[in-house]
Amino acid sequence: MADQDMLETDEPLLVAQSLSKSYGRIAACRDVSFSLYPGEVLAIVGESGSGKSTLLQLLSGQLAASAGHVSYRMRDGITRDLATLGEAERRFLFRTDWGFVHQDPAQGLRMAVSAGANVGERLMAVGWNHYGRIRDTASDWLTRVEIDIARIDDAPRTYSGGMRQRLQIARNLVTEPRLVFMDEPTGGLDVSVQARLLDLVRSLVSELGLAVVIVTHDLAVARLLSHRVMVMKGGRVIETGLTDQVLDDPREPYTQLLVSSILPP
């Protein structure tokens, strides 16, 4: 039931056209096309091995496609094919206009430096150099993700799993990205911790008007956060539509199987 303000602009932010990726004779991702609009949350669901993580890496330019294109509308309004960006441009995009929330926070954080530095580092990477302002902004973000300011100088390796994940989110959002990729962000967390994180992500996404591509195998996560879902199986998108439509009125045999496998609350 994510229902934040969705602008009726007709210009997509991210467009995937016939994306495919094969490893030798194995096709991990076949002919995927879609458009993502500003403020839209798209969930990619499917079992492990369905190709959803590969797709996320293709979309975020971390993996080169065997065929097809990904284009992105940059902050200057010009849409560029990601494959034509230079390495520096791509890195800059990753540090400013994009976020990437990994399932394992250790992949997205520097575990040995302080929480404040983890958040501040992204600001320094985009040219902030005033220590006081960086620290204030970092404190502000720790508060927004419900981390006690008293822990700002502690390294995330002293944090619980849920706190680490919230810190990773703060680190990603501090540069006010327009698009965030999330790979099973609640994957390794206890159920109670998951609920808190989902609620936090849901309100941040709607306050900031973020576009999100979230990979999850958990249909409850998709229902809570996303506007639209794509169901993947064997590297293909087999069903797509409005989240509640696909989950309440699934058409494909595989989607019906996924939906019927949820335990009732």
Binding site: M1, D3, Q4, D5, M6, E8, Y37, E40, A195, R196, L198, D199, R202, L224, H227, R228, G241, L242, D244, Q245, D248, D249, R251, E252, P253, Q256, L257, S260
Partner: protein, 236 residues
């Protein structure tokens, strides 16, 4: 012959069948040839026995169930949009600006306070939080939810309390179309009377409503017209 659409809802020849792939591909016809219109300031009640497809029709109008064929014309921001063929983004826009749905059960978001659950539809449409909360409080008060509960998430409330929170959330909006799925199912007489009043107020404001109500007395009080769903029974 086609005339320009004046109705708020214009359902024409809509069909719905479920194909149960996990049960050997059984075809489960739900409704066929669903055709009716709802004008502004009118409450149409769908009647028919359990299983006749009343809730399915409401869900089709909300874009929650997909139609196999036919048309779900909705008057949205001065134009007509066919929800049977609309893009997901358009359906979401229609839900934000035009159609509200009051289901029997509250799908509560963990940790959100009752007052905010109710105020949210106004905030989403741009009202200041404080004003939205004031309006939410008035409605909760009318529906006899004591003020000491307003700051608590509704997840732990009784069934009847949750339903009243849900009704408040549905009726607080200023949307021109409301779909009501048994809004009085688990309410006592006093609260049923409040819902009847709320429906009457919405009619005066020009809202078009489609409702499912099993209680005959409530149906008499709110229905301007009854559409018998058994005539849309799908030929099995």
């Amino acid at each position: 012959m086609s005339t320009p659409m004046t109705a708020m809802i214009d359902v024409a020849n809509a069909n719905k069948t479920f194909t149960m792939h996990l049960q050997g591909g059984i075809e489960l016809p739900v409704v066929s040839g669903v055709t009716f219109r709802v004008e502004a300031s009118e409450c149409v009640v769908l009647s028919g026995p359990s299983g006749a497809g009343k809730s399915s029709i409401l869900k089709m109008i909300f874009g929650n169930y997909r139609c196999d064929s036919g048309r779900i014309g909705i008057r949205h921001r001065g134009a007509v949009i066919d929800l049977a063929t609309a893009e997901p983004r358009q359906v979401l826009n229609v839900r934000r600006a035009t159609i509200g749905y009051v289901s029997q059960f509250l799908r509560a978001v963990p940790r959100v306070a009752t007052i905010d659950v109710v105020a949210e539809p106004l905030i989403v449409n741009g009202m200041a939080r404080a004003d939205a909360q004031t309006r939410a409080g008035k409605l909760l008060h009318r529906l006899n939810i004591p003020e000491r509960l307003w700051q608590l998430p509704p997840a732990t409330f009784s069934g009847g309390e949750q339903q009243r929170v849900n009704i408040a959330r549905g009726f607080i909006s200023e949307l021109p179309i409301l779909l009501l799925d048994e809004p009085t199912a688990s309410l006592d007489a006093a609260n049923r009377a409040v819902v009847v009043e709320l429906v009457a107020e919405k009619k005066r404001q020009g809202v078009a409503m489609v409702a499912i109500v099993h209680d005959d007395e409530i149906r008499h009080l709110i229905a301007d017209r009854v559409v018998d769903v058994t005539s849309f029974a799908a030929a099995a």
